[in-house]
């Protein structure tokens, strides 16, 4: 897509914000039984898939039951992490007042501790989305994902680094909040790092015990098979979530922002930045569900605490508003967005001139090539 983002007048920014606020209010007023039933239905599927997967892994001896069992377990983990955990922890279902859907209490089947996730993701990433130096999700502190980030020789190996992150994505996410880079740079003491790592260490211990000690032990002679199945399921989930999440913020056409331009943002400005910093992936309803509706990254960033299952019905209306205000709505097929991200990571591994961001039109900071 070649599309410039039109620079809006103050009045237009405010009107844009109001239109999105109205849209949000409309959905919130309509939330009800079908939303609660949807989430409970997904949770039911997660339980069933996990039980089926574990049963096949534990009692089977043949490669077919191993493959099917691992696939069921991987599916269960993907759905639990993406549609249930991520969305529930955003507070999307707090309005139900169901203690099982309470954002502050939910703990997901993932190495990242829920309390760490709620801070780094819900607060830091969603508030400061794509602001260089503020949103640590822009390249996660070690990848160069946009021209505006300066080049460093270590970026030469970033395609390999990204590939290994893909396979170990849950560990990347879980250690994200430890700020290991600051420790390595001598800005944080070991004691501080230890204190920071407490929730992480506690969570990881239990997660490792569950998948690699308890369940294999329960399988007796089948222990190696169960451990292998769990490892494969976790890895499959890592690859899938990596792919979906990288397509949400790093394809071509997504903008980054400077801190000084975002200091006195109005609600409309914030909406514009969320839109500019996100990209959607096209697909069917099953695909959307499997991504936890992060395939609607734009809608998610505009309305992070609205039940994600509503994003598909919101998307055409959001897009219509964006088009009316001359704002690019970045979207594409999964394959295209993946190629776009891969191309960008490869291209930016080599030294290119660090792009300067124009101060005059922060919202239209970048024009997609």
């Amino acid at each position: 897509v070649t599309a410039a983002r039109r620079t809006l007048s103050r009045a237009e920014v405010d009107a844009f914000g109001r239109e999105l606020d109205t849209l949000r209010a409309e959905v919130v007023a309509d939330l009800g039984q079908r939303d609660a039933d949807h989430m409970r239905g997904v949770m039911r599927d997660v339980h069933r898939l996990e039980a089926a997967g574990r049963l096949l892994l534990h009692v089977g001896v043949d490669p077919v039951s191993f493959t099917v069992g691992t696939a069921c377990l991987a599916l269960a983990k993907i759905l639990e992490n993406m549609e249930v955990g991520h969305n529930v922890m955003h507070g999307q279902y707090d309005w139900t007042k169901d203690p099982r859907l309470a954002s502050q209490d939910y703990e997901w089947d993932h190495a990242c501790a829920g309390e760490d996730w709620r801070r780094t993701h819900n607060f830091e990433h969603h508030t400061y989305t794509n602001i260089l130096g503020k949103d640590r999700d822009v390249g996660y502190g070690f990848l160069r994902v946009c021209e505006e980030q300066g080049w460093h020789p270590r970026h030469l190996v970033q395609p390999l680094v990204a590939l290994s992150l893909a396979f170990n994505f849950q560990w990347g996410v879980a250690t994200h909040d430890l700020h290991v880079d600051e420790f390595l740079a001598g800005k944080m003491s070991l004691a501080q790092l230890r204190a920071r790592a407490r929730p992480f260490v506690a969570k990881v211990r239990w997660q490792l015990v569950k998948d690699y000690a308890l369940f294999p032990a329960l399988a007796l002679w089948n222990a190696p098979r169960v451990a292998a199945g769990n490892l494969l399921a976790n890895t499959a989930r890592n690859l899938w979530t990596f792919a979906v999440i990288f397509c949400g913020h790093f394809p071509e056409g997504v903008a980054v922002y400077r801190e000084e331009d975002t200091r006195d943002e109005s609600r409309g400005d914030w909406y514009l930045r969320q839109l500019g910093g996100s990209a959607n992936i096209e697909g069917g309803s099953r695909f959307h569900l499997m991504t936890g509706h992060l395939s609607h990254q734009i809608e998610h960033h505009l309305f992070p605490d609205v039940p994600a299952a509503r994003y598909p019905e919101l998307a055409p209306r959001v897009r219509e508003i964006c088009e009316r205000y001359g704002q690019t709505y970045v979207t594409g097929s999964f394959g295209r967005q993946l190629r776009s991200v891969a191309g960008r990571l490869l291209r930016l591994s080599l030294p290119t001139r660090t792009a300067r961001m124009s101060a005059a039109a922060p919202v239209a900071a970048r024009v997609a090539a």
Partner: protein, 366 residues
């Protein structure tokens, strides 16, 4: 409000902690619910086994609770959670059964009452309700007073009936007068049971004050009560009924110097929240329950800012209502959500401090 937390000790608590860390608790809960819907490891649930139409607008739901139910004393109430259009709503209902009998609540359909209407229209045999624990001090002292006056009106008969049934079950009905106020005979709940109890226990006298009786002046009549129960000064009195009835009985007892003989149960626990007018910046009081801090606040600014200005350091993040870090339990009072405009005025609701402005005196769990 009572805790829904499991009462576990020793190895059970340890097992529950381990299960929670291994994320096995939710699997256990899910599969238990699949196999036996009434059962739960964390919630007190009860299956409706019978529904009795007491009057045109009062229904008794006979319940079979799971093992987490810890019993009740006659006259107590419990909380009942129901899900209406995806949202859990909680109400308190008095138990109408005696402690040893099958558990029962009796619910009057209140005009405009969401939960009572929903209970009447949607809850039937086989449905499962979520209960709290029994609570309340509308209970007989031990030993029970020798002479007793049970005074009720409308659905106020519910806890009183529990007390009466309990006395009957313990064969302790020595000298009890039960005076109940209703619009007509058709509006008197527990009719067959009351007749049977009166026939079996000579110490029980049941008096019905019906508004449609030819000699009735409608509602509570002090003269009449004194005529019917001449020795009321000697009786321990248990009172439950509509606000008007209760106020009149209370002032009568007050004037007669009998206030210490009177025990009352009020269904409306808290007085309705008096909200400030919209658009006005008015001064309200904010109380932080945990620290005991109390300060004057304005109804024009978010609670988070005002708490910080008064030395509090609550957890927070985005300050714009998206991250839910500052979500906190509001004990009492009304607040308005600046983004949605929605007002939360029920007790014990979670609110986002950064986008909530107080609309009345507020108590927070901070």
């Amino acid at each position: 409000m009572t805790s829904l937390e499991p009462r576990t000790t020793g190895w059970k608590a340890a097992a529950a902690t381990v299960a929670r860390h291994l994320l096995l608790d939710r699997h256990a809960e899910f599969w238990l619910d699949q196999v036996a819907p009434g059962r739960s490891l964390t919630e007190t649930r009860a299956r409706v086994v019978k529904v009795i139409a007491e009057t045109a607008d009062m229904r008794t739901f006979v319940l079979r609770p799971n093992r987490r139910w810890t019993g009740h004393s006659a006259g107590q109430y419990t909380t009942v959670d129901v899900e209406i259009d995806g949202v859990r709503v909680r109400r308190c209902y008095s138990l109408s059964s005696a402690p040893g009998d099958q558990l029962a609540i009796t619910v009057k359909r209140v005009a405009g009452g969401r939960v009572s209407t929903w209970m009447h229209d949607h809850v039937g045999v086989g449905d499962v309700l979520v209960l709290g624990a029994a609570a309340g001090d509308f209970v007989l002292p031990t030993p029970a007073p020798a002479k007793l006056l049970l005074l009720s009106g409308g659905s106020g008969a519910t806890p009183v009936m529990s007390i009466l049934r309990d006395l009957a079950a313990r064969d302790a009905v020595r000298d009890v007068v039960f005076v109940h106020h209703a619009r007509s005979r058709a509006d008197v709940p527990f009719g067959p049971d009351l007749r049977a109890l009166a026939a079996r226990h000579p110490g029980l006298r049941v008096v019905l004050e019906l508004d449609d009786a030819p000699d009735s002046r409608g509602g509570f009549d002090e003269q009449r009560l004194r005529q019917r129960v001449p020795d009321l000064a000697e009786r321990a009195t248990f009172l439950c009924g509509p606000t008007g009835l209760m106020a009149r009985v209370e002032s009568m007892y007050e004037a007669a110097g009998l206030a210490d003989r009177l025990t009352s149960e009020r269904f409306v626990a808290a007085a309705p929240v008096s909200r400030v007018a919209d658009g006005d910046a008015q001064i309200v009081t904010v109380r932080l329950g945990r620290t005991g801090t109390r300060f004057a606040a304005t109804s024009a600014a978010p609670l988070l800012d005002q708490i910080e200005r008064n030395g509090g350091r609550p957890a927070h993040g985005c300050r714009m209502g998206i991250c839910h870090t500052c979500t906190c339990r509001k004990r009492t009072g009304a607040v308005r959500n600046l983004i949605t405009g929605a007002v939360s005025d029920a007790p014990d609701e979670d609110i986002q401090l950064c986008i909530s402005v107080p609309q009345s005196d507020v108590e927070l769990s901070l």
